[in-house]
């Protein structure tokens, strides 16, 4: 494992993108950063700019309006980049499956590396999902 990848796995920077969800998953992603769960223990930082981020955490169903913005933000992220779909809506459209303005899941628009089901998932489940993704990437190298 190169030193670059080693450091990348020890300190993944996250970008949070809400594609039009109900806020349930967003407050759980935010709760994962606050003292009770403290995601920063793992070196994770929530970044504002896509150009700084390694992992994009997407919550919510992808609406027609937000699709192009989502793709654009994804393209701005440097390689290698990973996408985590948090919550039922991002995984598959969830309760909004079949609505006329909603794509059936994030993987209809972007390649997704990990799915964290739940409506919303507990902060522990989000930590578990991100950790599982990092472990898988570490094992691959």
């Amino acid at each position: 494992m190169g030193i670059t990848m080693w450091s990348r796995l020890r300190s993944p920077w996250l970008l949070h993108f809400n594609t039009g969800g109900c806020n349930g998953c967003d407050i759980e992603v935010l709760a994962a950063l606050t003292p009770r769960y403290d995601l920063e223990r793992f070196g994770c930082l929530l970044k504002g700019s896509p150009r700084h981020a390694d992992v994009m955490v997407v919550t919510g169903p992808v609406t027609r309006q937000v699709r192009d913005r989502l793709i654009r933000v994804y393209e701005q992220m440097p390689e290698p980049k990973f996408v985590v779909a948090v919550g039922a809506c991002a995984c598959s459209g969830g309760v909004f499956r079949g609505c006329y303005n909603v794509y059936p899941g994030l993987d209809a628009v972007l390649p997704v590396d990990a799915y964290i089901p739940g409506c919303p998932p507990k902060p522990e489940a989000i930590i578990n999902g991100v950790a599982a993704l990092l472990a898988k990437l570490g094992g691959k190298l």
């Binding site: 407050i27 937000v66 609505c99 919303p120």
Partner: protein, 398 residues
């Protein structure tokens, strides 16, 4: 009105839809002259999902969970409003224990929502210490909600005909203990907000909404109450057991963001007392009546005081297992015209760009609710600011 011809001196600053300061996709357009915001425009159509149409295509049971996911933070208010609405069609008596549990969970959700908002507001003014402490204490409420309902956020407790889970005596004890802890902490935060120079400097005199404008622009909830208008659906149009549970409607008269902070803090203290009252006076008995899947033909309008203000659901049934029309009006939507008013400089009242985040946050915007049906959008050269000008003319100033 054409944008380019009328605002040549002005800069147009778009913020969003993806922006570090925003947790939701929203496009905030500010027209600024130097440091001063002269007009604001909000486009939140990014979260339009087509819930109303989906509601007409699903049955009444499935719609409970769909209504719950209109908004994750006020999900209890949405399901409560939905279930009351459908029960209104049946004309059925709901067991009073169920109503007490509904109010209990509703008030817990209000505490959770207001604490969340207070934390976010502290973050918006750059006071991250307060944000972290508040969110740490908020976990106590989340634990209670999780224990009572089975999930931290989406509670799925209300159902047509009552509630789905009974509350256990040991949960009640833990609940009372947590209320004592929270009361002490919230009183402490109130003191911080009253004396801390950071909070006062950033909140006092910012985002002024005069009572007259609040009425004309149909503002709702804490935004309205911070403009010294005593209005609360729980008091004016009591539902569930709000006519039995005593509480005060909080009003403040300074009309600014600090008033909105203090209104929410005082409301949390009221909610704590309501939770205590509910636990002490909870009657025994069943928590649910079983109802047929298809309600009789009719229509019903239900109102609930959600954490962000008045929430309205309207249903029209045609006797089948799917509603013919379901209409939802969420509180943030009612507050958007008031928000545009707050963000507009006029006369002595000046809005700086730096004040925009906290003034914007002060209505507690919950766009996922709002954009389900609505919003202000820009169509080519036509801007909402154009119609805001017209709005101003109608009100006789500017």
């Amino acid at each position: 009105m054409s944008f380019s011809s009328s605002y040549e001196r002005f800069f147009d600053i778009p913020i969003g839809p993806q922006h570090p300061a925003l947790k939701e996709p929203i496009l905030l357009r500010l027209i600024v002259e130097g440091e001063h915001v002269v007009a604001a425009d909000v486009d939140v159509s990014y979260t339009h999902r087509g819930v109303e149409r989906a509601m007409q295509e699903r049955n009444y049971i499935q719609n409970i969970y769909l209504a719950e996911r209109i908004c994750g933070i006020c999900n209890v208010a949405h399901t409560l409003c939905y279930c009351q609405n459908i029960e209104g069609l049946y004309d059925v008596e709901i067991p009073s224990r169920a109503l007490y549990i509904r109010v209990l969970v509703e008030e817990l959700a209000r505490i959770h929502s207001h604490l969340l908002w207070l934390g976010v507001a502290a973050h918006e003014i750059g006071f991250d210490t307060l944000f972290m402490y508040i969110w740490r204490d908020r976990e106590r409420v989340m634990d209670l909600i999780e224990e009572i309902t089975g999930n931290r956020v989406t509670s799925a407790i209300n159902t047509i005909g009552g509630v789905r889970r009974d509350i256990k005596p040991e949960t009640c004890d833990r609940c009372l203990k947590a209320m004592d802890y929270l009361e002490e902490r919230i009183k402490y935060y109130k003191k911080v907000c009253e004396i801390d120079p950071t909070v006062i400097a950033r909140c006092a005199g910012v985002g002024i909404l005069k009572p007259k404008d609040a009425i004309r622009l149909c503002a709702v909830g804490p935004t309205l109450r911070a403009s010294n208008i005593k209005n609360d659906v729980r008091a004016d149009d009591p539902y569930a057991v709000h006519d039995e549970v005593p509480f005060n409607v909080i009003v403040y008269d300074t009309n600014d963001t600090l008033a909105r902070v203090l209104v929410r803090i005082d409301e949390m203290l009221e909610s704590i007392n309501m939770v205590r009252y509910c636990i002490e006076h909870m009657p025994s008995g069943p928590v649910r009546v079983r109802l047929k899947l298809s309600p009789p033909v009719g229509e019903h309008l239900s109102r609930v005081e959600a954490p962000r203000g008045e929430l309205i659901h309207y249903v029209k049934s045609n006797g089948t297992e799917k509603p013919e029309r379901y209409k939802v009006r969420t509180p943030t939507f009612g507050n958007i015209p008031a928000l545009c008013e707050m963000l507009t400089s006029k006369g002595d009242y000046v809005v700086n760009i730096a004040d925009v985040p906290i003034a914007f946050a002060s209505i507690d915007p919950c766009l996922s609710c709002t954009a389900r049906v609505v919003m202000l959008d820009r169509e080519k050269e036509k801007l909402w600011v154009g119609s805001l000008d017209r709005l101003r003319r109608w009100r006789g100033w500017g």
